[in-house]
Symmetry: C2
């Protein structure tokens, strides 16, 4: 007996409901706080380490919630999704958790570490082109062929509510551990699932919400500026998880309603943040997972904030990428 | 009014006293627990992330305690130490905290990242040879010249009590967070400061204590087997923090009294543990900091243990070392 989720009514209550449903199936990740990183950012940073989440990314939350809400009959027909990486692994994990079959459409150029992750979880991969549109079409064909249920990567109320649980935990953990609230939270933005979920939480806590995007892949910033959903040109940003050419319709509506503030970061800023997090935070993130921290380290957040939450969204990255980034950015790890 | 510390009377009370003295000056580091690492080790692992400690290593604890106990007059004359790395930074940090001057004897081949760390904290470095003996002599000359107080790297009751606070926090945090105790704790062994401190805690909690050493630098294992302190040949292990050619006299006495069990790990096992911690634990350690985890991942702990604490002792490592290790061990990150 769960309430129907109408987009216009999504609020903290739905995030709390999602948190109850996924408890025990996803990890309560630690919040990290290091003086050396505060010194770089010029504010107190509280890092929600979703790189340590199951499957190495917050995406486990939304998928677990969405699959967990299906009926027995729906689960018996399986689930389908399309993703360049972490959402694919997340759906495969959620399907395995609920003994459902997972059909996954992935791009032919998906990182090997993410392909291996899906396969290790028993997901059945269909490779389809390189664009989001191509793999979306492949996923629709899978739905047609199997009768399985589509679990969208971001433009879905259940996925949004599930992703919101990362930010809910962050606010709760910081309050528990320090006795004070966050002034703001910064999250990376790809399709907008994480930021939309974060909005529902930040609003309830009276905190500002910032969405960090690669400057070459700033669909949210452009859409907020235009007042409507904008489709951007494909980007080659190193943040491979933040490449969608548009944000979700629901996600944009929530972001606009909650006055998300956009912050654009360059690939160099992301690369430097990666190295700073590794050497001074001792924590490994994938480039997308460094984008929100990059906004803080590059001092692109407005003055006047004292306590800022940052979601480290994922940590699925291979050795070659790590060493490529270190060759370029390790000497610049500290400002 | 602090009690005199007589080696034969060192116990948990002294560790608790050290914890009170250093509170606020060192960080309460997080305990990490990841399913992916448990799967590799075959037991539940609780990782005390002293790589996130101030100056990037547990050594901050012992030095802060030892310097914090000095009188005003002693502090005015400064402090001296000799170290290949992390203890040097630790003494520099402690001296800075208490507004004392720090004179540090370091080997000419000390890692650049550790030299830079000492200088950034205002420590005055004297380079002296490559062996522990050479830098010890240089440090004694500095004491003679300046009247400053020697803060030994490990063979000292105040340093041992301070290092013990890492293990004390680990046991307390695991009990708080999970409601159950650890069966055992594994720590890396160089000169024996960390393991001696851990003994004082593990004994009080009824847990077994394991000391992990590189197989080419196993001074503790040899000394325990011989029943007396053994000086070993210099080693070229990749675990540069675990190279002392003998353990401290006090440290050996404590280890023997508390029935420390030795575990020898190869450089390959340490390298694989480094990669496993990075990719599956998302956490960066220096090679020495991976030695205790290596004992668990290589399944060298006895059967029958269910819940094992592991101290990740430090995380001061440069980009070249990281990429050198990944080139060799990244494909073997998971068994």
């Amino acid at each position: 007996m769960t309430l129907p989720l109408l987009p216009e009514r999504l609020d903290l209550g739905h995030v709390r409901e999602a948190a109850r449903r996924i408890a025990g199936h996803v990890k309560k990740t630690p919040v990290l706080h290091l003086d050396a990183l505060d010194a770089v950012a010029g504010v107190a940073l509280f890092l929600k380490s979703e790189n340590m989440q199951r499957i190495g990314a917050y995406k486990a939350r939304g998928a677990m919630h969405a699959v967990g809400r299906l009926t027995e009959a729906e689960r018996a027909r399986g689930v389908v999704t399309f993703s360049s990486g972490n959402h694919a692994q997340a759906v495969a994990l959620a399907a395995k958790t609920y003994a459902a079959k997972a059909y996954i459409a992935m791009p032919v150029d998906a990182p090997a570490v993410k392909v291996a992750g899906v396969r290790a979880l028993g997901g059945e991969i269909t490779f389809a082109g390189t664009t989001s549109t191509e793999r979306h079409e492949a996923a629709l064909a899978l739905v047609h062929a199997t009768g399985a249920t589509m679990i969208p990567p971001f433009d879905d109320p259940h996925v949004v509510a599930g992703q919101g649980t990362a930010t809910l935990e962050l606010f709760e953990q910081v309050l528990d551990e320090t006795g004070a609230n966050l002034d703001a939270v910064v999250v990376p933005v790809g399709g907008g699932g994480l930021v939309a979920g974060a909005c529902l939480v930040a609003a309830a806590y009276g905190a500002r919400i910032f969405g960090a995007e690669p400057d070459s892949s700033d669909a949210l910033a452009q859409s907020l500026a235009a007042g409507e959903r904008v489709t951007i040109a494909a980007s080659n940003t190193i943040a491979d998880g933040l490449k969608p050419v548009q944000v979700g319709e629901l996600n944009l509506a929530i972001a606009r309603d909650h006055q998300v503030e956009s912050v654009r970061v360059s690939d160099d800023e992301i690369g430097r943040a990666f190295a700073t997090l590794l050497f001074h935070g001792k924590t490994l993130v994938e480039p997308s997972g460094a984008a929100a921290a990059a906004a803080a380290f590059a001092r692109k957040l407005p003055r006047g904030l004292a306590r800022v939450g940052v979601v480290l969204s994922g940590g699925n990255v291979g050795g070659d990428t790590v060493c490529g980034l270190l060759a370029k950015y390790a000497p610049h790890a500290v400002d």
